[in-house]
């Protein structure tokens, strides 16, 4: 606390002495520490050091400039005054010596604050050094006044003593040689020089002044050196630059530079100039930027940003808005591309933002706007009128002198846009925002109408013109075409209304003191009105949305219907809407169900309004429908619907005759019936007579209202027109049948079967035959048979099963059993494969009941021949059961044995179980063993079959699933490969020596081919199974040998794999090798067939055996066959009585 008065005292002291100091300096000085007070420097004492360099120091004025050590140098220079090298060396030597001297000098006794004021010249040694160098440089310059090198070096030296040490920045990357101004500005901003220290502008004013004078001298000698100009200009950015030079002088210097230097160098100057102008702010910025923008508009966006910057104490929104508008217009015309990549619309929204934020400053008020709008409308009208008359030539060569606005450049003969005050940033006239938004916004950016309308409304809201804003919103809602725009405007509108209401309520809640009763009442009234408006707005919303959608597509029938629904029970409006819709919608472009509009409208009149409260007006309804029948709808169906609806209306009102008359009117058959129903070039009216819908309705009507004759006539017309479908035929026939015209009804069926082919006629035949049989039973057998034969004649296998069954049933009931059997027999041949089993089952059942079990044998045998394998097994089981029933155990066994070849024990355990039971119940040990042997061999057979792999997968799918998914690294690729492999599963494989190697060991001759067939069927397996197959293939021990070939020949891979394994493992071939046959895209196998022991045994040989064995009662001879089954023969010597 004790220190404080002292400081104040000193402050006062300083204050008195330094009245000329700028306030910043004052503050800095005021902060001087009390410890430094002992030195007590005054401004006078500090400024007394300067000027150091004027008059130019010479040894005569400053004896200490030259010491004895320098005599040699001085003499040398005197002797060689024209040698630049001597001078240069001398200067460099002095520089080095001074630098060393300065370093050697002890710490300064000045306080840091004072030292900061003096900057680089704070030490006596520095001051001395400056004088020494100036002396030398000046002397040299008298010899070489135009040496750029010398001047530059000199100026830099001088600058370093005044401005402080230049901070060298590290530059990254190169610079563009001729960058855009926008980029140049950014680069320049980064590159602006910065200094450490520097001489205070007030203390060292003299020295600053001398520095500038030196620059002026340099420029006098070297005026066209841009480097020197730039050096000069750089000092104006110094923070200590004295106010005397940093404003007007700086600006003038910039201007001089521009005047002096050639235009190619202007870019470098302007970049600095603009930055400097930005730093200066206020009118300077505006003036300088305007000058630049006249030449290059690319930095307009930057300029507007500056104009509107929140830090700018004097924002100019009008100018910014005008500039943005001008840019937006130019961009829209394609004359301007925003360097910042903004779209024309974006520029316009920026303009709008400015307008919204500075509504008062930028835009006109309501009366002015109205005036302006009127003027614009007048001008447009005048122009319209003028365009009617030939234009009067304004000048002979078509060139006119521009009087208003800034100078513009005309390039490549393009005509310049006429002067517009709205784009002239200098003109103080405010903007007619409404007109601009309409012309430059809504007319150009139709898809952004929502934003533009809300922008305009916001403008009015900001100006407090709420009525105008409301009006704007309403106009926007009434003109937008998309829901998005609508929502945008509507939301803004609602928000505006809400905030208005809440503001009014607030003012009611907290009334101002100066408001009297009347004001309050007025506010209340206003509030009520606003509330009502708001509610109405909310109620109108669905209508407005509907309006938008209808504006977008006036042919949208559904929207019209919605509109009708919106009106609810307001009959006038509903009728108005309907009439409007019918007048507006273009039938050919309407969306679906345009006819519903007419029908619903007619119904509206018929029922007396939506609620039926008004008087029903059938006549009007008829008129509407009559009109509807003349409309060229998109589809014939729609027109037919209208007619049907009309007839129905007449029926509802019990005018039955009228209903039929209406249909008669509709169903007129023209003379030329060769009209294509689908020919859309014809009007629907011309195609109506082919509409089945119309005729179906007509015929229904006749059936219920008319006579049999009239109904028949209509049905016949339908048939004549060849538009009947099967249903019509069936209806017609059953109608006739109901009216007891049986024969005619059958004729109709016949006609139907002639008209239609299978599969449609199948249903007709089915009904026809059933009806016929039902009617005549056994009385017309021949005719019935004939019909059945006709039906079957062209019947595809897929459909003939029911007909055969019906036929057979008929024969059984009314004809001969034998014929019935023969029909079944025919059926077994004719029907589709999948139906065969069923037919056989029925056939066998019928045969059993008619002729007894034994008669079924041939049928079973045929079934086994004909049926596919899987069903064969099933049939075999039945066959075997039948034989067993008959006591033919051996036959049954043989059948089991036959069936076994189709039944993999692991896939059909049921079969084997049944055989097993059979053997336990009826067989002997031997037969049971035989069964087991067959089971093993079948299993072995299926093991080698690739199909088995798939089958096995199918049974064990769950267990395999995880493995299958885990195996292939790339499942898709694996699946792909496998699919190809599966395709070639049965692909041929050149198999050397196959001819000798017929599969002798396999059961019957048919087995091999059937096996192949089965494989073919079973190869239709799912992808998962395929993957699993692949997995097990890769695990197979032989995979290694085959792996190089399998992927190469994917088509034959399966066959190769299988054949290789068979030869290697089952057939025991040796020396197997795989030979590639690229020409055949297959692999061949070469190997050595093992020598099979096919010797014949003589009786002598057997006898010898008995002898050598010592004469046993019998021996067993094992005969090994190639499928590795062994047959044992019991051989006894001599003649043996067979066992009983």
């Amino acid at each position: 606390m004790g220190k404080r008065p002292r400081r104040v005292l000193h402050t006062r002291l300083w204050h008195r002495g330094l009245s000329v100091l700028a306030s910043t300096t004052l503050y800095r000085l005021a902060a001087v520490m009390p410890s430094a007070v002992s030195q007590n420097p005054t401004l006078g004492s500090l400024t007394s050091n300067f000027p150091l360099t004027f008059p130019t120091p010479t040894p005569t004025t400053h004896p200490d400039l030259v010491s004895t050590k320098d005599l040699h140098r001085e003499e040398d220079l005197l002797r060689n005054p024209f040698s630049f090298r001597h001078w240069w060396t001398a200067i460099q030597n002095v520089k080095e010596a001074s630098a060393a001297e300065q370093k050697a000098e002890g710490p300064s006794d000045l306080t840091p604050e004072v030292a900061a004021l003096l900057g680089p010249l704070s030490s006596p040694a520095a001051r001395k050094s400056l004088q020494r160098q100036v002396y030398l440089y000046e002397a040299a310059l008298t010899q070489f006044p135009t040496s750029f090198k010398l001047w530059k070096s000199y100026l830099q030296t001088r600058m370093s003593f005044v401005l402080g040490r230049l901070v060298m920045k590290k530059k990254a990357g190169g610079r563009k040689k001729f960058p855009e101004m926008r980029e140049a500005l950014e680069d320049e901003q980064e590159d602006l020089e910065q200094w450490e220290g520097g001489l205070d502008g007030i203390v060292g004013w003299e020295e600053w002044r001398l520095l500038i004078a030196t620059f002026e001298r340099a420029l006098m000698w070297l005026p066209r050196m841009p480097r020197i100009w730039l050096l000069y200009l750089s000092i104006f950015n110094h923070p200590f630059c004295p106010a005397q030079v940093s404003h007007t002088h700086a600006r003038r210097t910039y201007d001089r530079a521009l005047r002096t230097l050639p235009p190619s160098l202007h870019g470098r100057i302007w970049a600095r100039y603009l930055l400097w102008a930005e730093a200066k702010g206020g009118a300077t910025t505006v003036a300088i930027y305007r000058r630049y923008l006249a030449v290059d508009p690319t930095v307009t966006e930057r300029y507007t940003a500056i104009l509107l910057a929140p830090s700018n104490p004097d924002p100019r929104p009008l100018e910014a808005a005008k500039l943005l508008l001008s840019l937006a217009r130019k961009a829209a015309r394609g004359e301007y591309t925003s360097p910042e990549g903004k779209s024309p619309y974006q520029l316009l929204t920026e303009f709008l933002d400015v307008v919204e934020q500075h509504a008062e400053e930028v835009g006109m008020d309501v009366p002015d706007t109205i005036d302006s709008n009127a003027k614009i409308a007048q001008a447009a009208a005048d122009e319209e009128a003028a365009s009617q008359q030939p234009a009067e030539q304004a000048s002979l060569d078509g060139k006119l002198i521009r009087f208003a606005g800034p100078a513009v450049t005309t390039s490549n003969g393009k005509s310049v846009a006429p002067y517009d005050e709205d784009e002239d940033a200098r003109s103080p006239r405010k903007l007619n925002v409404e007109d601009i938004v309409r012309k430059d916004g809504l007319e150009v950016y139709k898809d952004q109408a929502g934003r533009l309308w809300t922008g305009l409304a916001t403008y009015w809201i900001k100006r407090g013109e709420f009525d105008r804003a409301k009006h704007t919103f309403e106009r926007g809602l009434a003109s937008v075409l998309t829901i998005r725009d609508f929502t945008q405007i509507f939301d803004a509108y609602a928000e505006f209304s809400e905030s208005l209401i809440s503001a009014l309520m607030e003012s009611l809640a907290n009334p101002d003191e100066d408001e009297d009763e009347e004001d309050v009442k007025e506010t209340e009234q206003e509030l009520d009105a606003k509330m009502k408006e708001f509610e109405e707005l909310m109620d109108r919303r669905p209508f407005l949305v509907n309006d938008v959608l209808l504006r977008r597509n006036p042919n949208d029938v559904q929207e019209w219907e919605k509109r009708v629904a919106l009106w609810g029970d307001n009959d006038e409006k509903v009728a108005e809407t309907y009439t409007q819709a019918l007048a507006t919608v273009n039938p050919r472009r309407a969306t679906a169900n345009f006819h519903r509009l007419y029908i619903n409208f007619a119904k509206f009149y018929e029922e007396g309004g939506t609620k039926g409260e008004a008087e029903a007006d059938l006549d009007s309804a008829r008129k509407i429908l009559d009109k509807a029948t003349k409309v060229n709808f998109k589809t014939v169906d729609e027109l037919a619907e209208v007619w049907c609806e009309w007839a129905e209306m007449e029926i509802r009102h019990e005018n039955y005759d009228e209903a039929i008359r209406v249909m008669q009117r509709a169903a007129v058959v023209p003379k030329n019936t060769k009209v294509n129903y689908f020919d859309h070039t014809l009007p629907v009216q011309a195609r109506l007579f082919k509409s089945l819908k119309l005729w179906s309705f007509y015929v229904d009507l006749e059936e219920s209202l008319g006579t049999v004759e009239s109904t028949k006539a209509v049905y016949d017309k339908i048939l004549d027109l060849r538009i009947a479908n099967a249903q019509i035929i069936v209806n017609y026939a059953s109608f006739l049948e109901e009216n007891k015209y049986y024969e005619e009804s059958f004729k109709v069926y016949e006609r139907g079967t002639e008209l239609f082919t299978y599969p449609v006629s199948f249903e007709i035949w089915n009904i026809y035959l059933a009806k016929f049989v039902k009617r005549y039973g056994g009385s017309k057998i021949e005719r019935t048979r004939d019909l059945f034969e006709q039906a079957l004649e062209k019947c595809p296998p897929k459909h003939c099963k029911p007909i055969f069954l019906m036929y057979a049933t008929f024969e059984e009931e009314h004809g001969l059993a034998k014929r019935a059997m023969s029909i079944y027999d025919r059926a077994t041949n004719a029907v589709a494969d999948e139906d065969k089993f069923e037919i056989f089952t029925i056939y066998i059942a019928k045969a059993t009941s008619n002729y007894g079990l034994p008669a079924t044998r041939p049928i079973y045998e045929r079934a086994l021949e004909v049926l596919p394998d899987r069903q064969t097994a099933e049939m075999c089981l039945r066959f075997a059961a039948m034989e067993r029933k008959l006591g033919e155990i051996d036959r049954a066994r043989a059948i089991y044995a036959h069936a076994s070849q189709f039944c993999d024990p692991r896939v059909h355990p049921k079969f084997w179980q049944e055989w097993n039971n059979f053997e336990i119940e009826t067989g002997s040990e031997d037969t049971f063993r035989e069964m087991l042997r067959i089971k093993r061999s079948v299993q072995a057979q299926f093991n080698t079959e690739a199909s088995y792999l798939a089958a096995q997968m199918a049974t064990k799918q769950n267990g395999q699933e995880t493995e299958a998914e885990a195996t292939p690294a790339d499942p898709m690729a694996a699946a792909e490969r496998q699919a190809q492999a599966a395709g070639g599963w049965q692909g041929t494989c050149v198999r050397v020596g196959e001819a000798e190697h017929k599969r002798q060991g396999r059961g019957s001759g048919g087995t091999a081919s059937r096996g192949a067939g089965q494989r073919g069927r079973d190869s239709h397996i799912g992808r998962r199974d395929l993957i699993a197959c692949l997995a097990s293939m890769e695990k197979h021990p032989s995979y290694g040998a085959l792996s190089p070939y399998l992927p190469k020949y994917p088509k034959a891979a399966g066959a190769l794999f299988q054949t290789y394994n068979d030869l290697q493992l089952a057939q025991q071939w040796t020396d197997l090798e795989i030979i590639e046959l690229p020409g055949c895209s297959r692999c061949a196998l070469r190997g050595r067939r093992p020598n099979t022991v096919t010797e014949s045994l003589s009786t002598d040989w057997i006898r010898t055996t008995f002898q050598e064995l010592g004469g046993p009662p019998h021996v067993y001879l094992a005969i090994n066959t190639e499928d590795s089954s062994i047959v044992y023969y019991k051989i006894s010597p001599g003649i043996v009585k067979p066992p009983l």
Binding site: E613, E615, R665, E709
Partner: protein, 336 residues
């Protein structure tokens, strides 16, 4: 109906109703009268808005002024043709029948001045073949030449055909004509007949002999009429040839009504409102009457029936059947 409506317009009409709904009327009349009182408000249902012009079909304007005050009884429908079948009778101008007809007309005209002649062109002074196309369905005879006039005896009611039904209809008429022999017929008496819509009344000569043959012809046409859903001829037909007509009061009441039931009758109720008749006949260019005066027909009968039934006057031969569809007339001779 029209009388009731007229009564409702009178001030005291309602008090009459009140009197009726007195305490004395406890029987079935009470609910009926309450039903009556509730009816009018129902009738006063609000009207739906009229249809805009573009929805209304194009209809030629029906201007009664061009047709002596007659109105269409059936609205115009596009593509629809009016048709009727008749037996023509040629009356030579020198014949006694013609002269008798003239005298009859004059006598009638004296009593009912607004009477218009049918076929008796010379007398009426109206132009020949007046507006035939506008009223093809009326019994308007067409004279073939100047020496004779033609009277028509209708065999069907006015029938409405669609364009595609015309040929079928003609064929049916032809078939009926070919299957019949020509036959003699005669007029028996004079009578008054009114059209279905009660807009006009006619003075006619009724057919006596030949009635059965005409009935047979008419019956032959019934199936085709039924198949096109048109009304067959009257159950109990009175074949006749019209010779004069007059507008009835009913023709004033706006649009014609299509009453489904037949309104053929001999006499009209005697409740004619003379005042209204006087008022209407004054300035109106097309005066109407409620009906012929009471003894009008009887007087004519007394005067002329005797001469008409004379075998040299009212006897004629039915030789042809004509069918008129729109403007086109087709003719078939009966078998000889």
């Amino acid at each position: 109906m029209s009388a009731k409506r007229g009564a409702a317009l009178v001030d005291y009409g309602s008090s009459d109703d009140e009197d009726k709904v007195g305490p004395g009327h406890t029987d079935v009349a009470a609910p009926a009268s309450t039903a009556d009182t509730t009816l009018p408000p129902k009738k006063k249902l609000k009207q739906l808005p009229a249809l805009p012009d573009y929805l209304a079909p194009h209809v030629p304007v029906d201007n009664p002024a061009l047709h002596q005050g007659r109105r269409r009884t059936t609205p115009h429908v596009e593509g629809q043709f009016a048709a009727y079948v008749y037996i023509p009778i040629l009356v030579q101008k020198r014949s006694k029948l013609y002269k008798l007809l003239l005298r009859m007309y004059e006598a009638a005209k004296r009593k009912v001045p607004i009477l218009h002649p049918i076929g008796l062109l010379d007398l009426s002074g109206s132009p020949k073949n007046t507006d035939v196309k506008e009223r093809p369905y009326t019994d308007a005879p067409v004279s073939e030449d100047d020496d004779s006039i033609e009277l028509h005896i209708s065999l069907t009611r006015p029938t409405f055909l669609r364009a595609h039904q015309r040929n079928d209809f003609k064929r049916a008429v032809q078939k009926a004509a070919k299957s019949k022999r020509r036959f003699p017929a005669s007029f028996a008496t004079l009578s008054e007949l009114t059209n279905d819509e009660r807009t006009r009344t006619f003075l006619t000569l009724e057919v006596g002999a030949g009635h059965d043959e005409m009935k047979a012809l008419s019956d032959d046409l019934t199936p085709i009429l039924k198949s096109i859903r048109q009304k067959e001829f009257y159950q109990d037909p009175r074949f006749h040839a019209s010779i004069a007509w007059a507008l009835l009061d009913g023709s004033r009441t706006s649009a014609p009504k299509l009453d489904s039931h037949s309104l053929e009758r001999d006499k009209i109720e005697e409740d004619g409102d003379l005042a209204s008749k006087d008022a209407s006949s004054g300035s109106d260019p097309f005066p109407t009457i409620p009906c012929f005066p009471a003894s009008f027909v009887q007087d004519l009968r007394d005067e002329f029936a005797g001469q008409l039934v004379n075998s040299s006057v009212g006897v004629f031969d039915a030789e042809e059947v004509h069918v008129r569809i729109g403007k086109e007339v087709s003719k078939w001779r009966l078998q000889d």
